[in-house]
């Protein structure tokens, strides 16, 4: 059937860098890397043509270099453990919020749920069982919460999630089954341990958490490279139209929320077992807002946004130690400036700049 190009005016007919032939292999891709690209034709969702697994390898390598360089610096390794833990929780928020469009102000509370579950179960059955049950409990509770709030939109979901978070906070503080002492603080939590090997020192904890975050990243890349992603983005943008096209909007949003909460559970479990003590206040609204800040600082459009955001957020106060009493003021200003100067987040802005450079190189 001979159909002309509808609506293509003369001004739009520039030479096409986007023609199928130039698709994914146009940028001088090495054959050795092609297997990383997925087994798909040259047209298809752009995410299938990105080297997402390679990105994880690069991240792991960078972190390994850091770990080797500071192998005797327990303090820096400890800060990095915190950063990586937050990165996992913030990544969960990426799925619930950036993809799922849900204002998941409950993320910190789900971290707490993971921490308390893991501490309680870990006490009786060892770290690994505690860790796994933290994931399972967060996931299942999130599905229930998601089902209850499934018709709540935008800020209404936020309010609902906040209420759930408050309830959980009350539970951590007062539920005798979970609570440690009167205030709900639990201490003396078993350290991370697998097969008789105990990860107690900062070095050990760093390498352990690095392995965990790499596994989380790989699992998350599987979700990124799946129909979930486009369905989620469509659901977020115009839910009614997505629904009329056949996207199961409630299921998608609930599953992304649950996956995000499972990541919060992982982060909570790691926090509990690496520090050894938890308090209900540690998983309050303050942390919930911090996690949001990490995602916004890093960038909403990429899974690397929350990772970079968490790094930035955790390391910035450390670098500002030298200015002492002005720390808070300078810190707030830097956050403000970052948000104003980089509205797409750190990763978003870098990505845009790179794409601009590539385009310029191609047009030359």
């Amino acid at each position: 059937m001979a159909v002309s190009e509808p609506g293509l005016t003369a001004s739009k007919q520039r030479p096409r860098a986007d023609a199928p032939a130039a698709g994914g292999s146009g940028r001088g891709e090495r054959p050795a890397l092609r297997w990383l690209r997925g087994r798909l034709p040259e047209y298809g969702p752009p995410v299938y043509r990105r080297h997402v697994y390679l990105q994880v390898v690069v991240f792991a390598a960078l972190m390994a270099i850091f770990g080797a360089a500071f192998s005797t610096d327990s303090y820096r390794l400890g800060v990095m453990v915190t950063a990586l833990t937050y990165a996992i929780a913030a990544m969960g928020l990426y799925f619930a919020y950036s993809l799922g469009g849900l204002f998941a102000f409950s993320q910190a509370a789900f971290m707490g749920l993971g921490a308390y579950t893991s501490a309680k179960v870990g006490d009786a059955h060892g770290f690994l069982t505690g860790f796994v049950s933290a994931i399972a409990v967060s996931f299942v509770v999130a599905i229930v919460v998601g089902l209850i709030l499934r018709r709540a939109k935008h800020l209404y979901f936020a309010v609902g999630a906040l209420a759930v978070a408050e309830l959980m906070g009350l539970g951590f503080a007062n539920w005798k089954f979970l609570a440690g002492d009167e205030s709900g603080a639990v201490s003396g939590i078993v350290p991370m341990q697998i097969g008789g090997r105990v990860y107690l020192s900062a070095q050990d904890q760093f390498w352990f958490v690095l392995v965990v975050i790499v596994l989380v990243l790989l699992a998350s890349m599987l979700v990124e490279r799946s129909p979930m992603r486009r369905n989620a983005i469509a659901t977020k943008q115009v839910p009614l139209v997505a629904q009329a096209s056949g996207v199961p909007v409630y299921r998608i949003a609930i599953m992304l929320f649950a996956y995000g909460c499972a990541l919060a559970g992982i982060a909570g479990s790691i926090e509990a077992h690496s520090i050894g003590a938890i308090t209900p206040d540690g998983f309050g609204v303050g942390l919930a807002i911090d996690l949001y800040l990490m995602v916004l600082l890093g960038g909403l459009r990429s899974i690397w946004g929350p990772v970079v955001g968490a790094m930035f957020f955790t390391w910035l106060p450390e670098w500002l130690r030298s200015v002492q009493s002005y720390e808070t003021v300078i810190y707030s200003f830097l956050l403000l400036i970052t948000i104003i100067v980089l509205p797409d987040g750190i990763v978003g802005t870098l990505g845009k700049a790179t794409r601009g450079l590539i385009r310029r190189a191609e047009s030359r």
Binding site: L8, P227, I233, G246
Partner: protein, 248 residues
């Protein structure tokens, strides 16, 4: 057959659509015309489950609950919108893949545990989406972001999304709006080709010549009520229509 009976939509005390019934018979192209504000789009939205409405809709003998946009889709009813509804954060091909007829392996389970299965379905979805894009003449834009497409391209992208679902019933809300004459005749040809494939089509539009060229039956709405129903020739010689719509 798609049967809508006594569809009413009111906003406050004002009826936008008042007890309209229509039958969409298999294989036909039904055109709905009427002045602005006569309730054409609202009627379509009501049948599609996007507007709070009362009445009943039945597709192929199955009752379809109103106000549930997912249900008509499941029964094979797809539609395009008056203002093109395109997901600008996705590429063109992803926009089309959203409504793919093969819906397997799209959940969390598919992305973790049954990936080979997911990929198999996904490859079919990609090929079908590409075919749908080719059919409406947007194949070369498959990999491009849907952001910044020209108006007419948005319209055609929507049509591609609708036909990728292999619809039995295709409803189009003012598909020719904003298109020039050449584009409109191309669109008419495209719609005739869908009809030739056996798709039953419902078109809401303003351009009389365009509708005459594609419709086998027409319905005229005025102030939310049907005032004429018949072949294009019958309808346009109907004095009530001439009075109300053409304003001669």
């Amino acid at each position: 057959m798609l049967k809508a009976a006594d569809i009413s939509v009111h906003y406050g005390g004002v009826y936008a659509v008042k007890k309209v019934s229509l039958e969409l018979r298999e294989g036909e192209v039904l055109g709905i015309v009427g002045p602005n504000g006569s309730g054409k789009s609202t009627l379509l939205n009501a049948i599609g489950g996007l507007t709070r409405a009362s009445g009943s809709v039945e597709i192929d003998g199955t009752a379809i609950p109103l106000n549930r946009p997912a249900r008509p889709r499941r029964a094979g009813f797809l539609r395009t919108f008056q203002t093109p509804q395109v997901f600008t954060e996705l590429s063109c091909i992803e926009n089309v893949m959203l409504s793919a007829s093969d819906r397997r392996g799209i959940g969390l389970l598919g992305s973790f545990l049954s990936r080979p299965f997911m990929w198999r379905s996904e490859r079919v979805r990609i090929d079908e989406a590409k075919a749908a894009l080719d059919r409406v003449g947007l194949g070369h834009l498959a990999n491009r972001s849907a952001e910044g497409l020209a108006y007419g391209q948005n319209r055609h992208l929507e049509i591609a999304r609708a036909i990728a679902a292999k619809p039995k019933y295709l409803a189009m809300d003012e598909p020719s709006a904003g298109l020039n004459q050449v584009e409109t005749s191309t669109l008419a040809e495209l719609i005739r080709s869908f009809a030739a494939d056996g798709v039953t089509i419902l078109v809401v539009d303003h351009k009389i010549d365009f509708l005459r060229g594609i419709c086998s039956r027409m319905l005229v709405l005025q102030l939310g009520e049907v005032i004429a129903d018949g072949s294009p020739d019958e309808v346009f010689t109907n004095p009530a229509v001439v009075d109300a719509y053409l304003g001669v």
